[in-house]
């Protein structure tokens, strides 16, 4: 486009090769295409100076946190710092991944840079997977950032390296799934605001919603256990009896007490016991629970002999989840009764107050141990994640295929 009267027009570049004809499936992702789209997306998101400063601050904060924990913690083995980093990586990934992916299709379309790519030989799958990976790599960068502290925390966690790798793999997979969900919302919703909120709502539903629903459905699966109790009817005691009883409780000397003479009343009270074994699957769908369920089992009794740290966050979570999965024990369901009068007689005979708690304590410890060692159950959660992933990507690819049959309402092709 030189001015007519000045330079002659430069010769048309003669292409050495013609554009190769487009072959193959119109939607299936290809290796080259995916890599190209990922590269474009990453180049576009290359951080500015401000971005690098923010990234530096983040790195500094993580390192500071690491040093703080290292200083404060004693020499004992502990898995808590490791678990904190893992939670941090998961949290950051689940915030960042969907935020980026949820603006990636409707945003591009609004900016007018999507359709020119759809005109090329790239398939819908290339665009979908490339955009997914580009958003996911940013979460991956967070993981890399935390690596120094992660290694330190790992060294004193008592975990085995393959356990760490498994958990990291699952964390990145869960982040990938929420990134894919964000991308799907971006393909469905016309406005970036809507798709970002919907993406975070979806993530939030799985993180918090599942727990809330689990809690709210408890009454539906509860049964009522009637407990009986007998206790001394204080209102019908003579002043002497009352005084003697007070005296006995104060001094702990029950030998002078005429226990048989006290008037007792009987009463019953209802307690509801939830059959959480029927609803525990809701909790298992939760991504954080999935992480907990793939992390190592730590026995509450034998962790020291096993060379592990005391049960940390994930082990506790596993215990709680197992408790929900096991549901109420026979002991929980059995009517219990408390008999103050009988206790009084017993104490009067013994001359002093005695407690027989060993049975309780044994039972509690046994229950803890059973819960801690209960087999892990990540599969349901992982299956749900897989379904979400496949579904989201199917939506994205369908919506990216041209020619468009329908458009997002209120948008143009671009």
């Amino acid at each position: 486009m030189t001015a007519t009267d000045t330079a002659p027009f430069p010769p048309t570049p003669t292409p050495a090769t013609k554009v190769p004809p487009r072959k193959g499936n119109p939607w299936r992702p290809t290796f080259g295409g995916v890599w190209l789209v990922t590269r474009v997306e990453l180049l576009r998101r290359r951080p500015s100076v401000k971005g690098y400063i923010f990234y530096g601050l983040l790195l500094a904060a993580i390192l500071a946190l690491g040093i703080l924990v290292a200083v404060v913690a004693g020499d004992d083995m502990t898995s808590t710092p490791l678990e904190l980093v893992l939670v941090l990586v998961l949290g950051a990934g689940m915030l960042i991944g969907p935020s980026l992916s949820a603006t990636s299709i409707n945003g591009d379309s609004g900016e007018g840079v999507l359709a020119p790519l759809q005109m090329t030989h790239l398939t819908a799958g290339d665009l979908a997977v490339g955009k997914l990976l580009a958003s996911w790599f940013v979460s991956f960068a967070v993981l890399v950032t935390t690596a120094p502290f992660l290694l330190y925390a790992y060294s004193r966690s008592g975990w085995h390296w393959h356990e760490l790798l498994t958990v990291l793999g699952v964390i990145m997979a869960v982040v990938l799934v929420s990134t894919a969900i964000g991308l799907a919302w971006s393909a469905i919703a016309a406005r970036a605001v809507a798709s970002v909120s919907l993406a975070h709502l979806t993530t939030g539903f799985f993180l918090i919603g599942t727990l809330v629903i689990f809690a709210f459905t408890m009454p539906l699966v509860s049964e009522t256990v009637t407990n009986g109790q007998r206790y001394i009817d204080w209102e019908r005691l003579t002043p002497e009896q009352s005084e003697a009883l007070d005296e006995a409780y104060m001094t702990g000397d029950f030998s002078q007490l005429d226990a048989e003479s006290y008037v007792c009343v009987e009463d019953t009270w209802d307690m509801s016991v939830a059959h959480t074994e029927r609803t525990a699957w809701m909790v298992l769908v939760n991504p954080v629970v999935v992480i907990g369920e793939v992390s190592p089992i730590v026995s509450t009794e034998t962790y020291e002999e096993d060379g592990r740290a005391a049960p940390g966050l994930f082990a506790m979570m596993h215990q709680m989840v197992s408790s929900a999965r096991i549901g109420p024990t026979e002991f929980d369901l059995e009517s219990s009764s408390y008999d103050e009068c009988a206790e009084l007689v017993r104490w009067a005979e013994a001359g002093t107050q005695t407690w027989d708690d060993s049975e309780w304590e044994d039972q509690w410890a046994e229950q803890q141990e059973e819960q801690a060692n209960y087999p892990r159950a990540p599969w349901l959660g992982l299956a749900v994640q897989a379904v979400l992933f496949v579904g989201s990507m199917a939506i994205v690819i369908r919506r990216l295929r041209v020619p468009y049959r329908t458009l997002r309402t209120g948008t143009r092709v671009a």
């Binding site: 430069p10 554009v19 180049l43 090329t120």
Partner: protein, 312 residues
Amino acid sequence: MSILEEAPPMTEAIMARGVARAFGSVKAVQNATLSVQAGKVTALIGPNGCGKTTLMLMLAGLLKPDAGEIRVAGADPRTDSAAVRAAIGWMPDQLGSWDNLTCLQTLTLVGRAYRIPQAEARAKGLALLHRVHLDEFADRPTRVLSRGQKQRLSLARALVNDPSVLLLDEPANGLDPRSRVELREFVREIAAEGAAVLVSSHVLAELDEMVDDAVFMSKGSTLGDDAAAMVAHARTRYRVWALDEVKLREALTGGNVPFEEAEGGVIVSIADQTEAAYALAWLVGQGVQVHRFGPAGSALEQTYMAMDEERR
């Protein structure tokens, strides 16, 4: 652009018949019929919102028509939209660019998306940047480009795959006068190389000198032969200005020449250049002091205005 050497001569690069497309209850395109010849520039003219962009999207293979037949470079977008897209260079009306990438990166990556090898794609990017006079911006991010420069980058991007069909949606929007002249020459050259060019624009005076054919659109429908006849008629209209208008009218009335009034002069109908030369000589011979004599403005503009009049 080697399409002419390698493919059998094909004159109809774009053929559309009875194409329709609705968005919900809005009938964007109702009945569009047009054909664009290879090696020619065809204008798509119509008021805002008459369905030009929608029609172009359907021709580009980005949007499915509800009804009608389309052939682009011999392929049917419904069954082989990939082949259609591969043959087309599309310059959208919306200017989008990857802000953080340089102009050269943009073109190279688009070339890669057409599966052109890296080195070749880069060479091609450089050549195209040179062609649209953006050499100096090769290594600068596209966000620094002005509107007109982005327009040119967008044009270069449309040419990356050596298209045999070029669809330009409002390419002259936002261009300065020099760039418009350049665009006009550029488009003519691409057509001379054998590509079919369909260009939509409001800047009718520009189009007048650029196009071989024109397709008019109104309310979602193309106006076929009627509009063509109107353009042909408009091309016969000459405007005559004289120092003494009364004398001019008297001469015309005396010579039995029909004329219509226009601001500052009269409009007469003249078939061709020979007749124009003869008419001017005759008028001067009648003693009329003619000071201006020439075609009555843009033929396309006149047709557009006449069409617009009908619309109201």
